[in-house]
């Protein structure tokens, strides 16, 4: 625990030092980045120790806040979330040290780095906190630090508006969390997490209420549809290393909060599982559909995060159903898949956002249809991006496949369950995951094809080149992580016992027993992946030998006999996904503006499509308008006369006095 505290201390120290060095941008960057990396490295040591099977650690210090105790704990569940938080944050900091250099004049490092270090420290504290007040304080610091990072480029109106959306969303979410903790605290008589567990079991309606509050409050942070509206705004607005951390780990804290709350609530009723499966299906399918329709690279990645949160929710839903129906296999596989996907998503989404950052850095645009042929100009970024994209599509032999495999396997186990109440949702999970996988493949084929392959579509690409070592190295590390976890998922899944224990409510022995059938196929997958890679290697050597003595020429792409193909003839991203966006047009409501060529001597024609968020436009905007319309009726109370406000206070006091004396 001491090392964790030292790590947190280093992070805060780095933040303060970076702030103090505001005069020199170089020193501010150095101190901020150095503090972040040192703090993360320091705190990683005990995390790894706990994951390797050391006893959980805890710490309790008195704190002068009402109901607050500075209680920290590091168990398997916390460890599983801390691992990606610390690792990805350190890598993102290294990346940012070079990336933010390009923003010179627009972004002050002494504003960027203190908030970054603070964000990392707060995220770690959220996972470690074992007291409601401490948790909420850490949660709020995290949300606010992230807000200031989102609006780093506050001279752009779009960035300010995105920051505003994020701020409103996160505070609405927190409001639900405060109510949730008040309810829990009222029942348990304390805001300590230990006491929440001890107050079990809550009455069914009360537990249901807490569950719903947690789903809304934590779901807003995680990005469950339809609470995801801030994600596609905030992620593109933030600098890329910040987007990587926000999307890779910060939104996962919503998942962490939900899981931690579930451990307080006693045996789950079936409808919790159904709710999570339904939410997962909605987020997964709609998330990837909206991702398909986007033109902005980072916005696409943000929607894709919603999709992956959906996959995680499917895993949790399956796990809950397993717990409810006493199927250890389904429970363990569902939760294990969800947890592994949390780590995996941090790896590949971090990689993809950093890659997208490198592209934006090199070309100055996020519009995919302006790019093309970048793989030739940016071979490192391009090939690493391809690895990340294949991983996120859940293709073997990469890590995305491993976690989706566990969720799939859990669902197939569920199909075998005699009760239709399990088999039904399990089938929905199967069909949903398959559809999500197919659509995700389409989505990332589009991204790679349009951005990295083919010919350049505009002048933006002409000067593009790979970034320096500080930006490339983190991407290399993340891509290696994707490959490593993909080849040997057992490394992580075998360490999950401690995290699964409170979630599945099974004794350690039963978890070992239920994990064994998951570990065996994962070892087979390692073997199959080795066969696959060996085959690719052999074939490529064989082809090189084969072509050695034969003529190998270069020519133009075959365009049906047309000898002068131009880059403008290529399929664009929009045309590539057009069949799918038309098929699902009912959900997407893509708006098309077109200037058609008319008359015998037509003028220039134009076509533009945009897919704004349906929920933002059709759900939240009217809801907020209605709320403000209703609340406007109360405005007569508030008219700016101080004397009347004093009168209100006096009246309130009198009423309270009378009520108390009665």
């Amino acid at each position: 625990m001491l090392l964790i505290l030292a790590g947190l201390g280093l992070l805060v120290l780095g933040a303060i030092a970076s702030l103090m060095a505001a005069r020199s941008p170089r020193r501010a960057t150095l101190l901020g980045v150095g503090g972040t990396i040192a703090g993360c490295a320091c705190a990683l040591v005990p995390v790894v120790r706990v994951l390797l099977g050391h006893a959980p650690e805890s710490l309790r210090l008195p704190w002068s806040v009402p109901f607050g105790v500075f209680a920290l704990g590091l168990d398997g569940l916390s460890g599983f979330f801390l691992l990606p938080i610390l690792a990805l944050s350190a890598l993102a900091a290294l990346y940012g040290s070079e990336y933010l250099g390009a923003f010179r004049g627009r972004v002050v490092p002494a504003r960027a780095w203190p908030f970054f270090a603070l964000l990392v420290a707060a995220m770690a504290l959220v996972v470690l906190a074992r007291n409601g007040v401490l948790f909420l304080v850490a949660w709020e610091i995290m949300s606010l630090a992230a807000y200031f990072l989102v609006v780093l480029e506050d001279e752009t109106p779009a960035v300010r508006s995105a920051g505003w959306t994020y701020l409103v969303a996160t505070h609405l979410g927190t409001a639900f969390l405060i109510v949730m903790f008040v309810v829990l605290g009222h029942e348990a008589g304390s805001l300590d997490f230990e006491r929440f567990g001890a107050a079990l079991p809550l009455a069914a309606p009360l537990a249901g209420l807490v569950f719903v509050l947690a789903m809304i409050g934590f779901g807003t942070k995680a990005g469950f549809m339809p609470l995801h509206v801030w994600l596609p705004e905030a992620h593109p607005a933030a600098p890329s290393h910040v987007s990587a951390v926000m999307s890779g780990v910060m939104i996962k804290l919503g998942i962490y909060g939900l899981l931690r709350t579930l451990t307080f609530l006693g045996p789950p009723p079936a409808w919790w599982g159904w709710t999570l499966v339904a939410v997962g299906l909605t987020s997964g399918v709609l998330g990837v559909l909206f991702a398909l329709a986007q033109h902005d690279l980072k916005r696409l990645l943000a929607y894709c995060s919603v999709e992956n949160i959906g996959i995680i929710a499917l895993g949790i839903g399956g796990g809950l159903l397993g717990v409810h129906h006493g199927s250890a296999a389904l429970a363990v596989l569902g939760f294990a898949g969800a947890l592994l996907h949390v780590v995996n998503h941090a790896l590949f989404k971090g990689l993809l956002f950093l890659g997208a950052g490198a592209v934006v850095h090199a070309t100055g645009t996020r519009e995919m249809d302006q790019l093309g042929g970048l793989l030739k100009r940016m071979p490192w970024t391009g090939s690493l991006f391809v690895v990340g994209a294949a991983a996120i599509c859940g293709l073997p032999p990469l890590n995305g496949f491993a976690s989706e495999f566990l969720v799939f396997l859990g669902a197939y186990q569920g199909v075998l369950h005699p009760a239709a109440a399990v088999a039904g949702p399990a089938l929905a999970v199967l069909a949903g995951l398959a559809l999500i996988g197919g659509l995700a493949a389409a989505c990332f084929a589009k991204v790679i094809g349009v951005v990295f392959l083919g010919e350049a579509r505009s002048g933006h690409v002409a000067q593009a080149h790979d970034p320096g070592t500080a930006m490339t190295l983190p991407m290399v590390v993340l891509a290696s992580g994707c490959v490593l976890v993909g080849l040997a998922p057992v490394l992580l899944v075998g360490r999950m016992g401690g995290a699964l224990e409170p979630l599945t409510r099974l004794p350690a022995v039963a978890i070992e027993l239920a994990l064994a059938p998951a570990l065996l196929p994962l070892q087979w997958i390692t073997l199959a992946a080795a066969v696959l890679l060996a085959l690719v290697g052999t074939l490529s050597i064989w082809r090189r030998r084969r072509l050695a003595g034969r003529p190998v020429r270069e020519a133009l792409t075959w365009d049906c006999g047309y000898a002068r193909p131009t880059p403008r003839m290529q399929y664009t991203g929009s045309s590539f996904v057009r069949p799918l966006t038309r098929l699902f047009g009912g959900f997407l409501r893509t708006r098309t503006t077109r200037v058609a060529p008319v008359g015998p001597f037509p003028g220039p024609a134009a076509l533009a499509t945009a897919t704004p968020d349906v929920f933002r436009d059709a759900l939240f905007r009217p809801a907020f308008r209605m709320a403000s319309g209703t609340l406007a009726k109360l405005r007569w109370l508030q008219h700016g006369r101080v004397q009347l406000y004093v009168l209100y206070i006096l009246l309130t006091l009198v009423v309270l006095l009378v009520w108390k004396l009665r």
């Binding site: 073997p396 190998v552 133009l556």
Partner: protein, 307 residues
Amino acid sequence: MTALAALPPLCALVLAPLLPGIITRTRCWLTGRRGPPLLQTYTDIGKLLAKGAVYSRTTTAVFRAGPLVGLAAVVTAAAMVPFGTAAAPLAFPGDLILLCGLLALMRFATVLAALDTGSAFEGMGASREVQFAALAEPALVLALAVVVRSTGNLSLSGAFGALTSAAWASEGAALVLVLGTLFVVYLTENARVPVDDPGTHLELTMIHEVMVLDHGGPDLGLIHYAAALKLWVLGALLVGVALPVQDLMPWAGLLVALAGMLVLAVLVGVVETVMARLKLLRVPQLLVGATALAVLAVVLVMRGRVG
């Protein structure tokens, strides 16, 4: 693992290029032509492997990796599908998920290689491929779920091992529906009529063939071989469900399964003769229909267990 386990992948690797030959031959025979010899695909592949190569200047390593990754993926997949009474060498609970994953990997590699050429036609083919694949995948996964549910086994080899005539007697109706789904998936995934037309020479209307327009020489040979293998692997899946050979002797089971593959190829040839390609806008309806069949089958097996 017994020596018998080497049989399924061996059959696939050796006999797969026969299937396109049988399909073409059937079509020619039904339309009153003589057609190419049965072994034409072997000849084609051999000829292509002996050639040099021409690469487009637009392309990168992704284009060159496409055929290799595709073939490696489908060969690995071939090691996972049982044939006759023989279990596959790669058999474990959940191998059916890996099978779907490997086929997706093969498709992804082909699509990326197509997009790498920067040609509008190949982009068009790739776009159609990903659309149809996204819709075919749920159908395949649900169809396999029915097999899993009616045999109580999570691995392909185990499930097909338990798929005896007794299983057919109790879950026959559901399995017939599954066969319908699998056949549609088979035609879609292998780019046959009514989804795609391998015989056409008009780039605008093709899907799979147009994606590989720019490949030549050994690369094209590998692609043809991989396509034949895919035809075999998914065919073995279909035949495995259709023919409960587990009660037979190993050699008899093998013969029956081989006969089943022959019948399947002839059936595809007949479909290609009597049907035209569907309008592209109609294909999603076909695939959703196939998924609906699978859902119906699921309902049937679940009702069977509960009631």
